[in-house]
């Protein structure tokens, strides 16, 4: 279930090895899973893996690569860029022989457009930054330090910024200010309303919801022409 993939886009030494969680039985449909980012990645991790387990039971392979700078990656997060992650997503798709993509929340910003697939509750770059900046100003206020969103945005653009413990470099920060998910040909959006219940990214603590995971996996399976279970 735990594999690795080589990211050839890494300039340092030609390629970098990253971890990968996969349900890989060599079946015809192979879904590349691009997870939610940063704090949401933690909150949605169990949900994401549960969706993959259910896809596995429905006869669908799924593969969840670590992007450089995330989880066990040796690359530092602060040196990552949006373009670098987009290249990494394409490289990962090639490396695992993906036929489809499931992009979750901000993961939709990276969905390779040549793959058919689904954007689940896609989040734009500005929405992502707004939430993280707000978390930082609230924490600062609690600590008795006055910080404004405006000043933090300026710092982020020039030097990068640590928000909620996540160190985002200046290039990534600037790119996120205008980044919108692009729904490629053969890709469709799945809104939270189609899943039912509140999105797990809102939760104060990481949680799971078997019913929500089941509905997302079922929607994917059905859109591939499999009968409803």
């Amino acid at each position: 279930m735990i594999f690795t993939w080589n990211n050839p886009a890494e300039s340092n030494g030609g390629w970098a090895e990253e971890l990968l969680v996969g349900f890989d039985r060599g079946r015809p449909v192979r879904v590349l899973v691009l997870p939610a980012w940063f704090d949401e990645a933690n909150k949605l991790r169990r949900f994401t893996i549960e969706v993959m387990r259910r896809l596995d039971r429905a006869g669908i392979d799924s593969l969840l690569p670590d992007l450089p700078g995330c989880n066990e990656s040796l690359s530092p997060l602060k040196s990552q860029t949006l373009e670098g992650w987009r290249s990494a997503a394409v490289a990962a798709a090639d490396a695992v022989g993906a036929t489809h993509v499931l992009a979750i929340r901000a993961g939709a910003l990276l969905a390779p457009e040549h793959l058919p697939g689904w954007h689940y509750a896609a989040q734009s770059g500005p929405q992502l930054l707004r939430g993280m900046i707000r978390a930082r100003t609230i924490a600062a206020r609690e600590a008795g330090v006055a910080e404004t969103s405006e000043a933090l945005m300026a710092t982020g653009r020039a030097e990068g910024l640590v928000m909620g413990g996540w160190h985002i470099g200046p290039a990534m920060f600037r790119a996120l200010e205008t980044a919108e998910p692009a729904v490629g040909p053969g890709q469709s959006e799945i809104a939270q309303t189609a899943i039912g219940g509140p999105g797990l990214w809102m939760r104060a603590e990481p949680d799971e919801d078997a019913e929500q995971a089941g509905r997302l996996a079922a929607l994917i399976s059905q859109s591939l022409g499999n009968p409803a279970q």
Partner: protein, 98 residues
């Protein structure tokens, strides 16, 4: 987006209170009955360890979406976030026509 056109009416206020309780239930992963028990003095930020700055940021963003309001930096203070009553009073003030 939900709108609350008649905040002056008791029904409008009750709808807003229900919406906010639902929101807190969604953030804290509470059942509807647990959220129903929230009163004006129920503690939020600083009282519930799981409600950290990131969770509060998420709560405010969701409030903006559901109530159709914009929350500025200056709006956010300790009083507004400390209790359910504070949050409700803030939402009411934001929704009142000026």
């Amino acid at each position: 987006m939900t709108t609350f056109p008649n905040l002056d009416s008791a029904a409008g206020e009750a709808a807003l209170e229900r919406e906010l309780k639902g929101l807190i239930a969604d953030v804290l992963g509470l059942g509807a009955d647990q959220a129903e028990a929230f009163g004006p003095e129920s503690g939020l930020f600083g009282h519930l360890p799981e409600l950290d700055s990131m969770a509060v940021a998420g709560l405010l963003t969701e409030m903006e979406d559901r109530l159709g309001i914009v929350i500025e930096d200056d709006d956010v203070d300790g009083e507004m976030l400390e209790t359910f009553g504070g949050l409700l009073a803030f939402a009411k003030a934001k929704l009142e026509p000026r």
